[in-house]
């Protein structure tokens, strides 16, 4: 079953009179439960593709489907609603709200979804436990290590029960040990919850975790390959 489908998508950025073709007719299908890496050199279009799948941006041409729904031409609020209900994000930088504790950061998507306080509490505690940070719930981001912050971000991405989690260079700012720990956490959650993970990376140590690798170059998909499961 397809979670996301991209059909002949292009994305052109125009700055002044200069046009930059970030994506040049990409088609891709992502099934439920996949653990897929988007790889390619800088400027290949990995981040742009993630942003289009994640409804953060809109394609210049082509269509993006999420759970069968065409999300290519939705307005801002509709895209925000889709992101809230269907997508979770993990960014390269540790994208936590600095004034909120780990608990409150994870709670935020649930607040936006209008969940009741008991529901929120149960879900947040469960998620923090699943990323091994139950004892850090009351810590603010500046009191957490980079790896811990990224695991909080993973917990937050899972909070609203999305069908797809998009991670853009999730280990780029982490050392090897923390990077591996974050990837193992994501993999375990993929296995346990069945949620689909798509992550962009150009780090070979991260690529090895993927069961499918999609290679991009100059805004085009140049290779699909399946890999043996790790662990």
């Amino acid at each position: 079953m397809e979670v996301a489908k991209i059909e002949n998508v292009t994305r052109v950025y125009t700055v002044g009179k200069v046009e930059t073709h970030a994506l040049r007719g990409v088609s891709l299908s992502i099934d439920k439960g996949e653990f897929t890496a988007l790889v390619g050199p800088s400027g290949s279009g990995k981040t742009t593709l993630l942003q289009l799948i994640g409804c953060l941006d809109q394609p210049t041409t082509g269509q993006v489907f999420l759970d069968g729904q065409d999300v290519s031409r939705l307005n801002r609020d509709q895209r925000a609603d889709i992101r809230r209900s269907k997508i979770g994000f993990v960014f390269q930088f540790f994208a936590l709200i600095p004034t909120l504790t780990a608990y409150e950061n994870v709670e935020m998507p649930l607040l936006l979804a209008g969940k009741s306080p008991p529901e929120r509490r149960q879900r947040v505690l469960q998620l923090l436990e699943s990323v091994g940070l139950s004892d850090r719930a009351d810590h603010r981001p500046d009191q957490l290590s980079g790896g811990e912050q990224q695991r909080v971000a993973v917990a937050r991405a899972l909070a609203s029960g999305p069908s797809l989690i998009l991670a853009d260079e999730p280990t780029a700012n982490l050392d090897t040990a923390n990077g591996e720990q974050v990837m193992e956490t994501m993999m375990r959650l993929n296995r346990e919850t069945g949620v689909t993970f798509v992550f962009a990376t150009h780090d070979p140590r991260v690529v090895k975790f993927a069961r499918r690798v999609v290679t991009l170059q100059d805004g085009r998909v140049v290779n699909h390959s399946a890999q043996a499961k790790k662990g």
């Binding site: 994640g54 941006d57 609020d77 925000a80 809230r84 960014f91 004034t99």
Partner: protein
């Protein structure tokens, strides 16, 4: 909602000093507005109150032909049998006191100097003379049968270097158009706290004033104070009679009331300027905050926060700044105004001429509940509205662009 407040509060707490000074700017603006409003209210309210107590009363009953500007002493311009008329007016229930008064223009001469004055014949026992009686600073008050004594205002005594027991020569116009002069003894020196009035007014017993000016059994007017000024119209209806003219305190203080209305008008512009400056500080603070938190706005947007929720966060922060500013303003303004309400604001002007406006030597600020509520609400609203532009700016950020921002 609680989470929104918590988030907004913590955001303001990130840069406590900046938030404090922004709130303080609004607070100072509100304090300034409250102070100005209370000064104007105190000044104008006092001027009207003084004018009523010292000059006009709530009502005056005069001869229909009396011309105040000429201080006429012609019998046909005066009230005949004033004691009888005053007694009739005083018998009305809403009337506190009604007393005859006789006004004559003249001048006081000492050995070295002279000064123009207005001689006022008063009925010494009348309650209407409380401001003079209570204001005696030297000597004693007049008795009704005193034929040689006068009361001199404090500032006139200062100017002419007079003290109790001194002799002065008082010259006044009389009913037959001549000038009469007589020596009087200064029985006492009074102060109403209004140097303009005190420097120009000499008081003497009504009977002596009538004899001195040739007015005989006449008075310039019946000075009337009411229990409640709102009953003015009812009293006028009860005492209207041919040959008399009844003037209200509004009629007699028209210029003063117009001045008050005018000052209320220009104060609005003053308020707008002050609030405009304070609003600029708030806009600046919030715009800085939006740009500093661009990436966070992108994160919130990425996890599904709608633009209007982002806007709500920034508006809540403006609301909190406004609340803090209002509390600071009420505190600072309250302390300053309480001080000036008690001790007064020194006012080094004498103003008793062109406008006929009586001013105390100090302005005692008066802060009304209405002014406080209106100005507080206005300051609060301006602060929140000032936060509207940065909030809209934040809400319209594209998530992709916001996420790309430098931390």
């Amino acid at each position: 909602m609680i989470q929104l407040l918590k988030l907004a509060f913590r955001n303001l707490g990130r840069n406590r000093r900046r938030s404090f000074f922004s709130a303080l700017a609004m607070g100072m603006a509100l304090a300034l507005l409250l102070l100005m409003a209370s000064v104007i209210r105190g000044e104008m309210g006092d001027a009207i109150d003084l004018s009523i107590r010292l000059q006009s009363g709530h009502l005056q009953v005069r001869s229909a032909t009396y011309d105040e500007a000429k201080t006429s002493l012609q019998w046909e311009d005066l009230v005949e049998n004033p004691d009888q008329v005053a007694a009739q007016v005083a018998s009305l229930d809403p009337v506190t006191v009604a007393t005859p008064r006789l006004y004559a223009s003249g001048f006081v001469t000492t050995r070295n100097e002279s000064a123009p004055v207005r001689a006022v014949g008063i009925d010494p026992p009348s309650e209407a003379n409380a401001p003079y009686r209570d204001g005696i600073r030297e000597g004693e008050f007049l008795s009704p049968d005193d034929r040689e004594g006068v009361l001199i205002g404090w500032s006139l005594a200062q100017r002419l270097d007079l003290s109790t027991g001194d002799t002065v020569s008082l010259s006044v116009n009389t009913s037959n158009g001549e000038v009469e002069e007589q020596a009087f003894t200064v029985r006492g020196i009074y102060s109403t706290g209004t140097s303009g009035f005190d420097g120009l007014t000499v008081l003497l017993p009504l009977a002596k004033a009538q004899a001195f000016t040739g007015a005989e059994d006449h008075a310039s007017s019946i000075f009337v104070l009411l229990k409640d000024p709102a009953q003015t119209d009812a009293v006028i209806a009860a005492i209207q009679s041919p040959g008399f003219e009844v003037l209200t305190w509004r009629d007699m203080n028209e210029l003063l009331i117009q001045t008050e209305q005018l000052s209320s008008g220009y104060m609005v512009f003053f308020y707008l300027i002050v609030l405009g400056i304070a609003a600029t500080v708030i806009v600046n603070t919030q715009i800085m905050s939006v740009y500093e938190r661009t990436r966070e706005i992108g994160i919130l947007s990425a996890i599904g926060m709608r633009g209007r929720n982002v806007m709500a966060i920034f508006l809540t922060e403006s609301g909190m700044l406004a609340t803090g500013g209002v509390l600071l303003g009420l505190l600072i303004g309250g302390i300053v105004i309480a001080y000036f309400t008690r001790y007064g604001l020194p006012l080094a002007v004498e103003n008793f001429g062109i406008t006929g406006m009586l001013l105390r030597e100090r302005i005692y600020t008066q802060l009304t509940v209405q002014d406080t509520v209106q100005l507080t609400l206005m300051s609060f609203l301006v602060t929140v509205l000032a936060g509207l532009y940065p909030a809209v700016l934040a809400s319209r950020m594209e998530p992709v662009a916001a996420l790309r921002a430098e931390k």
